[in-house]
């Protein structure tokens, strides 16, 4: 086969496909990695969780104004109502607010979470120093807080020094009894969990005079289908609210919403990668035309010895497909190597689908861009071809 004789030309021609395939495959793998990364982030914040949030956040109606309607406000009545769910492992009310904190004569900003002690196991929050608050402290409205490591980062050189010190939140003093392990987050515009301050719910009423509850976190039992449990939560909530006034969601819904946003971005990037495939295809077409011209005499000889038009067509078509497939395989190999390195930092991966897409498109490109030169070769008149000098 001519491809092996003309190694340099074969390599240069398939370079376009190599670049195209590897950029498409790598972008797909980063997209997959991003999805995996988001999933890991959610998983690290606890699994089997049902979120109860006011308003319609997944706007199924398509009306972008849902967020602008007067949104319902949860309160202690909802907490009591949800606690009637007998299968729920935890029912956790959360009030959140952005706040100014002062300590050690320095000022910073953080996110307040007034909640119950159940938040710690539900969200897999682990302690680094000190202790967590417990149920009696929640009930007794003790003025204690457990904080993420970044809250006091600017105030104390060593977090241990902050332990049992007090922190001023909006002018009121609370005692730091525990400091959590770093959790990460804050990437991709999400919240920075290490800047969270946890406070017993009722203690927090001094900062939340309306006694509002922003949302509920409910841990589903293992022995019941998750969707069934989610439905029960919803039934409990629509006793008081209309179905479209609230959202009962799980992390999968958040993940798919986030990844669909990134998915659009990814598609745009993949489309850009596809352009280089197109350019690669045109390169193949070009070199195949050259090859046909160089081999006109050979085509004539083959026709004189009995080759049909279709034999000549396949001769050139198989070469262009092989050329393109060679580029595709090299591109895929290169992508695997790159992903192997990237995996040290980011959970990117190449799935079977991407590999099939890569090799499939390169074959199709070989056929599509090879068919014009191959047809030209096949349609040469045998006598003109054999007389060609």
């Amino acid at each position: 086969m001519d491809l092996f004789r003309n190694k340099m030309r074969t390599f240069l021609t398939s370079l376009g496909i190599l670049i195209g395939v590897s950029s498409v495959v790598l972008l797909l793998s980063f997209g997959l990695g991003l999805k995996e990364y988001i999933r890991q982030q959610f998983d690290s914040l606890g699994t089997n969780l049902v979120f109860v949030i006011p308003g319609q956040i997944f706007g199924n109606s398509g009306s972008g104004f849902s967020g602008m309607r007067s949104v319902v406000q949860f309160d202690e009545k909802d907490f009591i109502s949800l606690k009637k769910l007998r299968d729920a492992i935890y029912v956790i009310p959360i009030f959140t607010k952005s706040i100014k904190v002062e300590g050690n004569a320095k000022v910073d900003y953080a996110t307040l979470n007034s909640t119950t002690d159940e938040i710690f196991p539900a969200r897999n929050l682990e302690l680094e120093y000190g202790r967590l608050f417990d149920k009696p402290e929640v009930d007794k409205k003790t003025r204690v807080i457990v904080i993420g490591p970044k809250v006091i980062e600017k105030m104390f050189d060593n977090p241990v020094l902050a332990l049992n010190k007090s922190l001023r939140i909006e002018g009121q003093t609370f005692k730091i009894i525990g400091i959590l392990k770093a959790k990460g987050g804050g990437g991709f515009g999400g919240p920075d969990f290490d800047k969270f301050i946890y406070m017993p719910l009722k203690t927090g009423y001094t900062l939340n005079p309306d006694k509002k509850i922003a949302n509920f976190l409910i841990k589903a039992p293992d022995n019941k289908p998750f969707d069934l449990f989610k439905e029960e939560v919803k039934m409990q909530m629509i006793k008081r609210y209309d179905e479209d006034e609230i959202t009962v969601a799980d992390s999968a819904q958040f993940i798919s919403t986030i990844s669909s946003i990134f998915g659009i971005l990814n598609m745009v990037l993949v489309a850009i990668g596809a352009v280089s495939l197109l350019v690669g295809g045109i390169g193949i077409m070009n070199i195949m035309y050259v090859s046909v011209t160089e081999r006109i005499r050979e085509i004539g000889i083959r026709r004189a010895l009995g080759a049909r038009e279709s034999d000549i067509l396949y001769l050139f078509l198989s070469e262009s497909v092989l050329l393109s497939l060679f580029g595709g395989a090299m591109g895929l190999t290169l992508s695997f190597l790159v992903v192997l390195i990237v995996q040290k930092f980011f959970p990117a991966y190449i799935d079977l689908m991407s590999s099939i897409i890569a090799l499939g498109t390169s074959s199709l490109i070989g056929i599509f861009f090879g068919v014009f030169p191959a047809r030209k070769a096949a349609r040469l008149s045998p006598i003109d071809a054999i007389r060609y000098e």
């Binding site: 050979e298 000889i301 054999i386």
Partner: protein
């Protein structure tokens, strides 16, 4: 009565050279019988090669009919004509027309690649036999540009014979060879005609070659001379 293998009826071949009509063949009607040894002779540009290409189904006449064993080829599809080119006729060209990137053995076997029917013999064995018979054995793995012209033409003849055709068309087969190799090639073609009853048509401009065949067709300015 001798069996007819090929016949042309009022065959014309015309080319448009710009605005000028050029007639390469004018009203050619000939008939060749099975087992004949014929030469087509004429000066350069008289239309010998054109006629040979039409007889060998490589080219089509502008007007007129071609019959293969009595069948008008006008009704044949391009695929049918392609398979006749591989099974019915074997070409030998002045420029040998071997494919340089294929080995000698691959060149000889090339017609068998394009056959759709099952061969009754082992083509590799036959190729090796032909090479031995023509004194080019041992060159299987060589490439055409590594052997002499005389050897290349033997390879071309072996290739023409690999499908056991009834007709061999040789266009100036000795034109590119020295007289010694030329004589040997000619002897070989005559042997094939005599021993295997293969119909052989030799195109030449050399009367000394034409004289060695039983029948001479003379062509001049695209017309049969006598």
């Amino acid at each position: 009565m001798a069996e007819e293998i090929i016949r042309t009826e009022h065959v014309w071949k015309e080319y448009m050279m710009g605005d000028v009509l050029f007639q390469a063949l004018k009203d050619i009607s000939i008939s060749i019988n099975l087992g004949e040894l014929v030469s087509i002779i004429g000066p350069s540009g008289s239309g010998k090669s054109t006629l040979m290409h039409i007889i060998g189904l490589l080219d089509q006449p502008t007007r007129g009919k071609i019959f293969i064993s009595g069948n008008d080829i006008a009704s044949f599809t391009d695929d049918k004509i392609s398979s006749l080119r591989s099974e019915f006729v074997g070409f030998v060209f002045q420029q040998f027309n071997l494919i340089n990137k294929l080995t000698i053995l691959e060149n000889i076997l090339l017609p068998t690649v394009y056959v759709r029917k099952k061969l009754e013999y082992n083509p590799v064995e036959k190729a090796l036999y032909l090479m031995k018979r023509f004194g080019i054995d041992g060159k299987e793995k060589s490439y055409p540009n590594k052997i002499s012209g005389g050897q290349q033409q033997r390879v071309a003849i072996a290739r023409a014979l690999i499908m056991s055709p009834k007709l061999i068309l040789a266009d100036e087969p000795t034109g590119n060879l020295d007289s010694k190799s030329g004589t040997e090639i000619l002897k070989l073609l005559k042997e094939l005609n005599q021993e295997e009853k293969i119909t052989v048509v030799i195109v030449t401009h050399d009367p000394l070659i034409a004289k060695q065949t039983k029948r001479i067709i003379e062509i001049k300015d695209g017309q049969i001379d006598k």
